[in-house]
Symmetry: C2
Subunit: 395 residues, 2 copies
């Protein structure tokens, strides 16, 4: 009976071939051509759970080892996304209904801190197993597919800083400054005074250590602080940047974030917002919301752009880095898999499987779903003293 | 009594100085410093009219010579914009109430043709008095402020075509192809097959002549056709571009335009939309709507971006060319003023004054109001075969 359900479900798959191995050891093949991966269903009870709540059900079953994937995990995710996209509108509506309803909630500073610490305070040791040496945990910028991840992360910082058109003496704020690479680089390369804020204690400690080691004390600061607290302080900046932070503020706080930037940015100042984007206003994937990013919300590009004029923000430049994030995640996933046994030793099998699924499924999503990432550069009010062209980004 | 009203109105002006000369020859000075222009009020009846409907009233009074401006006309427009921006919110609301209400109307193909011909069929001879040799009637692209207008118009075409990432054999559609420079250049430089459509008979005739002269018959076509008619024909293209045409479709037709592009663009194809934008959804300036662009509507950037996901359009690149349009209009206005007596001879004083006001006020608006222009590049569905960076635009 359960096997029949699997067959009914998968016989519509038009894409690349794969096989399914059932709990009793028997197998079926679906799709076209040589199987690219094998989906192992260890337990017939998995199926109704996954059908009821696809993302959460599959994610948990994978974490618990009740489903296993042999071969390329990304291929499974791609197949699932293409399968979902190929479903008729009525079936999509059904899926959407089943998915958790998105309710705009407001992340309080206390909740935000807890959420961010859940994610980032797993430990620098964990992240250093698969991030590059800069510990940059956001989309890199590849000038060529042959660039190393490390090189591409350095290039990302430089590309971002060039967009900001920094001048010596400028003040720069980095909201969600991570391990502090961007603020340090901005001070070294552009002679600015930089402040980075983050809600992760480990990130602040690591950043302060780097600032001291490099002799940048006084010129660069790192503070454990919520962006709303800083906005209330009345401090202002020539430039405000945030890289991979906007996804954490929660939907109801998108305008709160913008209002805070409006308060902190000087007239004519520039701000760069680097954020993952959805095409439309979609609910958070319930598995990712529960296990990876509690409190997060991926904004649509259009709802983000829609807010800007309310704060007299003028759009100067928008760039999609979608394939860059696919490549970044592919590198992370490869690093992760290479260190997989160490993750298992330190954090246990369930945690290790959870992150493995997360990294591989995100990598696939950036290639084949509408998941995107954009850098949005805007000025507060008009600024008539900017370079005429974007040539300076490419010299 | 009328003079008192003028004094009450202008004594709040904080900006650069100017003088007002009244109907009786007396003058007053306002603002700070040496007067930058003199506003001559020839008739006390002008004042209540301008107060009731500022844009329309001033525009008509200027056309009729009942007000005159000595000195820099752009400075007057800048002063007016800055004055309006400095008014409190309550006064702005009053201004907005007075301004014509914007009702989304639907431009029928017949109405659209009439409107476009009203504007563009004034005669090539008229436009050739102040456009550059390419007869490009849209924002140029200046690599340096010293570039000539002609050079900047050539650069605009090349910059736009580079964004489209054309390959030999590609099919390209230009909606609103003007005098045909872009399609000819695309064929010559990139080996594509190009079709340009426009609703102006004179533009089609001129373009066909150029195609024949350059031996491009067969490879490049120009047709007198509405974009909706072409979309209904089922013909599809690898690339679709429109430069300065979207402003003519009317607000209710913004989605109609998008749906037409979605029909005509092949999966994975790219489209570039080059359009003047407002910050928010503002009514058309009633003077411009009545005398210059009947049927037009300047979309906001955000309402344009909002539509894209509805047609599975993915945003790749957005660039503001605001200062480029200010510079373009400044060059046009200078050319126009140089040939002013010829315009008067051919079209009469009223028409000549109307266009003079239009060109100078647009030039000022791009510098000091929120009026902007954006090039928006998007793909239909996902395209994973694009260059990683925008470096190719700047080589």
């Amino acid at each position: 009976m359960q096997k029949t359900l699997v067959r009914k479900l998968f016989e519509r798959v038009q894409g690349k071939g794969f096989s399914v191995q059932y709990w009793d050891g028997t197998t079926d093949r679906f799709g076209r051509g040589t199987p690219r991966f094998k989906l192992i269903l260890r337990d017939p009870a998995v199926l109704p759970r996954v059908l009821k709540e696809p993302e959460l059900g599959f994610g948990e079953a994978y974490m618990e080892g009740r489903v296993e994937v042999e071969g390329d995990l990304r291929e499974l995710v791609r197949t699932a996304i293409e399968y979902r996209n190929a479903l008729g509108e009525s079936r999509k509506a059904l899926f959407a209904l089943k998915a958790a309803q998105m309710l705009p909630w407001r992340n309080s500073p206390a909740r935000q801190k807890k959420d961010v610490q859940y994610h980032y305070d797993i430990g620098n040791e964990f992240y250093s197993l698969w991030l590059d040496e800069t510990m940059s945990y956001s989309c890199a910028y590849f000038k060529s597919p042959n660039d190393s991840l490390h090189q591409a992360q350095l290039q990302k910082v430089d590309h971002t800083l060039r967009k900001l058109q920094l001048k010596p003496g400028h003040t720069l704020l980095d909201i969600g400054s991570g391990w502090g690479w961007l603020i340090v680089r901005a001070a070294q390369q552009h002679g600015v005074r930089a402040l980075g804020i983050t809600l992760s204690e480990q990130q602040v400690a690591e950043t302060r250590k780097r600032i001291a080691d490099l002799g940048l004390t006084g010129q660069v600061e790192a503070e454990l602080m919520d962006y709303r607290t800083l906005a209330d302080s009345g401090r202002t900046f020539d430039r405000v940047v945030s890289v991979g932070m906007f996804e954490h503020v929660g939907r109801a706080n998108l305008p709160v974030y913008m209002a805070a930037v409006a308060k902190m940015l000087k007239p004519g100042g520039l701000s760069l917002l680097h954020t993952i984007t959805h095409m439309t206003e979609d609910p958070v994937n319930p598995w990712i919301e529960k296990y990876i990013f509690p409190g997060g919300y991926i904004p649509s590009l259009r709802e983000t752009i829609w807010l800007l004029p309310e704060y007299d923000f003028h759009v100067l430049d928008v760039e999609s880095l979608r394939l860059h994030y696919a490549m970044t995640l592919e590198r992370w996933a490869e690093n992760y898999d290479r260190n997989y046994t160490r993750v298992v030793e330190q954090f246990g099998e369930r945690f290790a499987r959870m992150w493995r699924l997360y990294l591989h499924s995100c990598a696939a999503s950036f290639r084949v779903s509408g998941l995107d990432i954009h850098q949005i550069l805007f000025s507060k009010g008009l600024n008539n003293d900017l370079p005429l062209t974007r040539q300076h980004l490419y010299d």
